[in-house]
Each structure stands twice: as C-alpha cells, then as structure tokens.
Subunit: 122 residues, 4 copies
Amino acid sequence: MNIGHKRWVIADGYIPPSSSGTSRELVSHDAICILNCDVEDAHVQVTLFFSDREPVGPYRFVVNALRTKHVRFNEFSDPEPVPHNTDYASVIESDVPIVVQHTRLDSRQPALALMTTMAFPA
Amino acid sequence: MNIGHKRWVIADGYIPPSSSGTSRELVSHDAICILNCDVEDAHVQVTLFFSDREPVGPYRFVVNALRTKHVRFNEFSDPEPVPHNTDYASVIESDVPIVVQHTRLDSRQPALALMTTMAFPA
Amino acid sequence: MNIGHKRWVIADGYIPPSSSGTSRELVSHDAICILNCDVEDAHVQVTLFFSDREPVGPYRFVVNALRTKHVRFNEFSDPEPVPHNTDYASVIESDVPIVVQHTRLDSRQPALALMTTMAFPA
Amino acid sequence: MNIGHKRWVIADGYIPPSSSGTSRELVSHDAICILNCDVEDAHVQVTLFFSDREPVGPYRFVVNALRTKHVRFNEFSDPEPVPHNTDYASVIESDVPIVVQHTRLDSRQPALALMTTMAFPA
C-alpha cells in the first residue's frame, strides 16, 4: 500500500522539563509516530525550527518497510540534543509516503497529561 | 448520506499497561470510533503494524448502516490479542465510506488523561 | 469571509457520567465549538448516531453571523436529551460554511482531562 | 520551503480562569504555535470572534523567516486583552504560507490537562 505523504509538519514542539514518573514509559516526552506501509524502507529526515536561532538538522533515521516507529525528540542526539523547556517546530521528510502523528506525554505534575494530533501533510 | 473515506490510518497505537480505574469505562484503552452514515453495512478490517515484526490482521467486524461503533484495541482477539505497552500503528479499511476518530484514555496515574484526533484519510 | 464546510462529522461522542467539579465550567462535557465567519446566520442541525438504535435528530440552533457558539451535547434537549455514558457520533450540517472543533472535558477523576480535534469536513 | 496555508481557523478558544501552577510554563493558557518555513518573514494577523459581540482585532505580530513562534492568547494586549473564562474562536491570516497548531494547557485542577489539534486550513 502506498499511503500518506512525503512531508509533514508539526508546529507545536515542546519537551516538558521534568517528570513525575521515572520509568521510560512515564517520562515526559514529545514524540512523532510514523507508519510506513510501503514495501520500501523510508529514509526520514527531521529538521527542527526554533524561535530565535537557525534551523537544526537533519536528524536521520529509517522506518523499515511495513513497520511503525515511535520516535521521541528527547532521544535525538545527532547533530545535537533537543533542548527541554524550549519552543520548537519540525518538518518531517521521507523518500516514500508515510503517515505521521504527533503525541506528547507530560508528567510534570502528579498525573500525566496527553495530547495528540495528526501532523499536517504539506 | 455517503460520508467519509474507505481507508484511514492511525500512526500512534499504544495500550497503557495499567489502570487506576477498575470499571470498564475507566480502564486504560486505545480505541477507534467509527461512524457509518451509509445505508449499507460497513465491513471493516484493521491491520496492525509493529516496530519489529510483520503486520498482523486483518481484524474484522461490521459497523451497521446508520450506526456508530467505538472499538477498543484492548478487546481485539482474532487473529491474536494486541500486546500492551507496545508501539503499533493501524490501517482501517471499509467497503463503504466511514469516518474514523482515534481516542486513548490513559488511567495509569491517579487521574485519567485523554487524547483524540481524526484518523488520517488515506 | 466564506470559511469552512457545510457538513462536519465527529465519530467519538461520549458524555462522561460523573464529575469532580460542580461549577458549570468544570462539569464533564462533550462539546462542539462552531465558528461562523459568514455575514449570514448559520442554521445548524445536528444528527446523532448510536450503536444500537436509529439516529436521533435533528437538533437545531443558530450560530449568528460573525459569531462563535460552543455547544455542549449535555445540554441538548429537543427532540430528546443525550444519554450519558453512551457511545454516539454526530453529523453537523449548516446552510452556510462553518468550522467545527470537537472538545471533551472529563472530570470524573480528581483532575480534569481534555481532548480536542478538528471535526472531519465531509 | 513554501509550506502551509495563508489562513487557518480555530473554533474552540478558551482561557481557563485559574491555575494550580505559578511558573509561566504551568499557568493555564490557550496558544497558537506557528511555523514559518518561508524565506520571507510572515506578517500575521489574528481576528477573534465571540458569542455575543463583534469580532475584535486584528492582533498583529511577525513570525520571522525559518522560525517558529508559540503565542499565548493570554498575552495578547493590543487592541485589547482576551477575556478569561469566555468562549471565543479565531482566524489567523498571514502574507506567506504558515502552519498553525492549537494547544491548550489547563492547570485549574491539581494536575494539568493538555489538548492539541492542527488548526483548520481555510
């Protein structure tokens, strides 16, 4: 199946600066969930935009054919980690069509909050 | 009314592994809410995608004409249950147009969290 | 400005059956937020779909020209109130283009949860 | 990159009237997150719509080329502050294409809630 778009945008990027949970699953995070329904691997690159400095990237990774990958901005490291408690936005580009959903888990206060939206297909 | 699309995608699938509520309504769940405005029954099939293994499915069910059905991934059993605390994604296909909305209730911590988005019409 | 669509769909309708807040603003509710940017009043009618019975409606109201109206399903009464703790879906139709956003506030547990999505323009 | 639309709509505007957090990051807020991927600065103007009075605006600001700006309705002041605990909606217009995401943080009760959706491209 050839499903989705090759470029997606998320305008609200933010990694909460603290967590009330300690396990990986309950640590505050900002994530992109990607589905690749193609029979070819997807070579994905993410560019980050900030309020007060030049864009950073690309961050590169592969989403294998017929697989999903849920990626946390918290765990990006190359070319540089993503700062916490800082507004950013992202453009996600792929060489094959993918579907991208944006989800944040915020456990700063004692009871997590969630938000999600489909990214914008651009 | 002939409303919607025949194929929808959700990239962020996840069933929280625990719950602070015990009633069915407060158990953590990941769900697809489907509306069939057609005068024909919708024969729906869902395929699940994972990060590290082959897709699983189809899971099949019917959404009757002029009815809605809110289905929890937690309660899928055939061909196999959906693992908890595991990243997945899903493609929902129907023989008549439907509308699909994705909603998760997460009650791991003492105070539930909610998130929702329209699925992506593909 | 002539903005939006004349028909929108929400697949996940649900009114939580209890609340931890008592003021109107903190009572659990399921709502549609409508913007009418047109210079003509919008005559809106909502049809509700259920899992196990015939559709109910139309519920009728007006959103005046250049006004927004945030309407709670909880407060619908004619032709009949909307049952709580029951799955439903809705189709919103207007004679002029409008924009519809779906939002739920769930305060069953001691700390409210929120979810929102643009409705599906059909 | 020329990404997005020049007009976006948010139908559910609401600033919660209180907060359990005191730092700026935990104060209840209703926000628009904007990404400008263009090489030209985006001159943005926001018009607010209410349930019972004439529209207010425009509120004007610039999102620089290749930058993101996350703007809180709480902090709008010219032509007038946005009332709290009041239903509103907004139309966001720009002279170059932008992407707009709507996010609310509600910390009225002791444990914040989050919601987000892409705005509607009109």
